[in-house]
Subunit: 243 residues, 2 copies
């Protein structure tokens, strides 16, 4: 009787932990969508709202950390139970970082709204939508403990990387065409980079789901499509193209 | 007798954990110094060496993770022992990220060496030296369990942020002066951002040292000097300045 009580209460704590992660995930999804909308629509009020909303994500991370520390100390779990607790801790760190990156996107809205509009904003919005879908998939995979679904999302991060590399080149071209585009494009370079990093953290979550459920580390390197660190774009090429 | 044997063996494991963290820290310090030297001296061979060296940091993170998992499962530690184990896990994640950021700096060496040299490279090297000092300080604070020293380093991150904001503006100005500077300056924007992020992770480590030793979370927000997300630089201002 007393044993079953202890077991059920541990399960309740695990449920609480998993639902805290789900709530964090929902907030991060909203944060990404709103921050991209804020810069696309030049909506300063929405941007301010995003910056304030980040605190709720940080608070949930603190709650998850306190809860896992308590569970580790009092329950002394092993095997799959231990992996579930450590996975929640790890995922909460990833989600907190994703929230920070989304917030940094929103922070750039005020600078962008003082500058001329530039074309690649549509590419940014597209990249944001893809990243949003991947986040939804990894969070569903976590909730449903669905390793296969996590792996599909993990593979798709390559598409975000490719979009980022192509946006990087496009933004440099806009800068070279007209110096008045430079500051807006520099901010958009960081917006694109932030979204790409959010995608990286989503793949971390996919890897954690795999580890939690299988007890094994994912072998092999994830396919990567970000070659922007090696990109060289020169104004001469630009004038050759337009001539 | 058997009790003291168990205790001493747990202490040995903790020592092993702490020394793995110290080795990771040393590798990250070297990685940052070498990657900045690679871009400053346009040294492709050194850059390649940095990219390869990142694997050793990743491997150490895996070792720390496996060791902490084992210690949590078999030792079921509480209080300060538990905090030490979780802190090592957390610090290893921060160091792994710092290694990644440094590696990304090195990756840009090949693009930069194909482009005209630009002035702000000295500012980057200065920012790198300050960040290196702060990393050394937080790692010493961790080794010596010196909360006060951790807090001094934590405060100094503001200087890195301020250097970053000023470099951000300077790089945009260089871009506006001559479109041939744009690609090199875009890469240097990310180099500066990567160094600034390395500084952020160093402050995370300082916070973890505080938590490990005191059992309390650091209250209050860290002073921040990075206002670059709000920066607006316009070519008109540039021509006003030079006229």
């Amino acid at each position: 009787m007393s044993d079953s009580h202890i077991v059920s209460s541990f399960d309740d704590e695990l449920d609480g932990l998993r639902s805290a992660i789900s709530r964090m995930g929902g907030l991060v999804e909203a944060q990404l969508a709103n921050s991209i909308q804020a810069i696309a629509k030049r909506d300063d009020a929405l941007a301010t709202q995003c910056v304030e909303a980040d605190k709720a994500i940080d608070d949930l991370e603190d709650q998850v950390e306190a809860l896992t520390l308590r569970m580790l100390a009092l329950r002394q779990p092993v095997a799959h139970d231990l992996r579930q607790i450590l996975s929640a801790l790890k995922i909460s760190h990833d989600l907190e970082r994703m929230g920070d990156y989304a917030t940094n996107v929103a922070k750039r809205a005020s600078a962008l709204s003082q500058l001329p509009e530039v074309g690649p904003i549509n590419g940014i919005a597209r990249m944001g939508r893809l990243t949003h879908r991947i986040i939804t998939d990894v969070l569903d995979a976590y909730t449903q403990r669905d390793v296969e679904r996590a792996m599909v999302a993990w593979q798709r991060d390559e598409e975000i990387d490719q979009m980022y590399t192509s946006l990087f080149r496009e933004l440099l071209t806009y800068m070279m065409e007209d110096p008045r585009n430079i500051t807006a494009c520099a901010h958009l370079l960081f917006v694109a980079k932030n979204i790409e990093r959010i995608g990286d953290h989503a793949t971390n979550i996919a890897e954690t789901v795999y580890f939690e459920e299988t007890g094994r580390r994912l072998e092999g390197n994830r396919p990567k499509g970000d070659n922007s660190s090696f990109a060289v774009v020169k104004p001469e090429e630009l004038s050759e193209e337009s001539s």
